[in-house]
Symmetry: C2
Subunit: 358 residues, 2 copies
């Protein structure tokens, strides 16, 4: 390597682990694989609010933009729950996603064979589930304007948002999803509410237009209410799901919970160019902050996704994924995935076990 | 009774059963309980489209409005899937809901003890689930304006909708939900996306304002993505859920599927005054239309809800509910809820068995 990769870690306030396991695992993997990193840690979310008064400081965004990849912890916490919108930790995350133009959010929902019994679904339903939700991340009701608080014609107060998609926003996520499906099992299910919403009718029409470009991908359409049911009834029917920002928020969380492995699942957010953003699917779990109970697997697997999708370092990514499997096979579990016969450990010790396996 | 109750049946095209079981059960129950009904059947949805060219004929709406209660089959079907929006069967249903001003949609998700094993959730997770989703039904993104197709500032095509709630719309559904929770186990969970959407922030603020009027009800708030997960992780944590139109659409379907009893679940849509609307939660199942396979329990239980919530005839409602339980206990099942050791029958025969039990 001529140049060092610049990897950028967004720090969040809720340190479930210290020193950070994801960074340690990256560093160790890097040194073994002969990859050079330059790390920079910057503030985002609650930590940034406390230190600078805004959830995404300019400095954080500009350093992130110049990086090769961005690794992120989870954000949010009770302390800022009542902040005004522009001063919420979540707003910082939204601004970062928008600033990096990462329109495609990849959320795998995979059942780890060692953890099948952690799912609340019956073994025969959960076993072998391996689906990918491709969520549109920088459009729709999250960003649509007009939005805000107003007064209607009766002088009554209102709160409102706009669900809106422009042609190119649908086209690029559709193309992205077809490519993902093609590399997986060749099945793409587009989820919308086209029996009700114009934004969804438009979505469906544009997605459909790509079908002939991808004759090898089997395209289907499903209403979001039905999708929420089918994920429970028979999740194995799905390979790749593509959907809008808000439906993707709901369905990807639902899909990850059916696996029973929510503490295990990473995510990647990618754009056309520029750095990708890698973060665990789970939230910041403020209820267990500082108790050495959090499950670090998802963050560590986010580092693996960063290597694969962000830096093209597939071998290093595999090394991390194997270390995770190895740690699971040696029986180590945090409380959220513990079952009798396995070894219950805290976050810190689990991190050390992963490091041993790298 | 001095006056006859007017009950109005909306006919849909997809006759899974003939003569209609729900009507037969109502008639028999009525005669036993000494209640007089006057039935009128009118067209809605696909059947109305085929006969009159519109999904909600004026005649249907005006007769519905003059009724004491409206019993509805499921609507929709492949034949009209590609119709323009104003000519979709679903549009007729939406117009009927709006026309009757039934803003509160009650969707129970109850696990029938006889059917626990039909759930894809583990027995210990599914057993005893008994929750009620109170969905706002006449506002939000389903009805918000502006909506449609347009061109943005770059000359690009768009599709858009407006999620909007006015104060009184939130207040009346909040009050309704607090009343429901008070009559149940006293727990109300309001679901929103207040960390992102102004419409949700406004929703949360208004719901919160009712808390002091209902000190006996324990109010909590949950983000919709988390709610989608918690319903799978531990559905028993919920008693009453109140949420907006689109989130309610998704979550109530999810909740009904976790029970494994989706073919069993009725719903009621109520307003401040005027007739309520009673319909099964499930869709029209066009894939099995005419095959004598459909499960009539949900429609029959909708008739029971009609008696209880629509006409205040609790005793008659109980008679129907007991007949359903009795039929289940005698082992009769349609294919969707069949398990080994029970008796598989078609829709028609199941209807006859229910009639025997009334
Ligand atoms: C924190 C919140 C704004 C965010 C979202 O809704 O996108 C989160 O739920 C997620 O899915 O990453
Ligand atoms: C058919 C459709 C318009 C309807 C809705 O979304 O309200 C249905 O899904 C329901 O929940 O009753």
């Amino acid at each position: 390597k001529e140049e060092e990769n610049k990897v950028f870690l967004c720090q969040t306030l809720l340190h479930h682990y210290s020193p950070s396991i994801d960074k340690d695992v990256l560093l160790l993997t890097a040194s073994i694989e002969g990859i050079k990193y330059e790390f920079q840690e910057k503030l985002l979310g609650g930590a940034a609010l406390d230190a600078t008064g805004v959830p995404l400081p300019e400095d954080t965004l500009s350093v992130a933009k110049q990086s090769d990849a961005v690794l992120l912890g989870a954000i949010g916490g009770y302390k800022w729950d009542k902040n005004e919108k522009h001063l919420k930790p979540e707003t910082g995350l939204l601004q970062l996603r928008a600033g990096l133009k990462v329109f495609a959010n990849l959320r795998p929902a995979t059942v780890f064979p060692q953890l099948v019994d952690a799912s609340t679904l019956k073994r025969e339903v959960a076993e072998g589930v391996d689906l990918m939700v491709v969520r549109e991340l920088t459009g729709g009701i999250y960003f649509g304007k007009p939005r805000g608080f107003g007064t209607n014609e009766n002088g009554e107060e209102t709160g409102y948002n706009t669900e809106i998609y422009a042609a190119h926003e649908i086209d690029r996520i559709a193309r992205f999803a077809f490519e993902v499906a093609r590399k997986r099992r060749g099945k793409l299910c587009s989820v919308d509410k086209a029996n009700m919403l114009e934004a969804s009718m438009f979505w469906r029409k544009r997605v459909l237009a790509f079908a002939q470009e991808y004759p090898d991908v089997e395209l289907s359409h499903m209403y979001v209410d039905n999708a929420a049911m089918q994920l429970i009834r028979n999740p194995k029917q799905f390979d790749t799901i593509v959907t809008n920002n808000i439906f993707g928020d709901i369905l990807s969380d639902e899909a990850s919970m059916i696996t029973g492995s929510i503490g295990m699942l990473p995510s990647a957010s990618l754009g056309d160019s520029g750095p990708g953003l890698f973060e665990p699917i789970h939230g910041s779990a403020p209820d267990i902050a500082g108790q050495d109970k959090a499950n670090p697997f998802a963050t560590v697997l986010s580092a693996a996704m960063l290597l694969r999708y962000g830096l093209g370092e597939d071998k290093a990514a595999e090394r991390i994924e194997k270390a995770v499997m190895d740690t699971l096979n040696r029986g180590f579990r945090t409380a959220d995935i513990y079952s009798s016969g396995t070894k219950l450990v805290g976050c810190k010790q689990l991190g050390e076990e992963i490091l041993k396996s790298v």
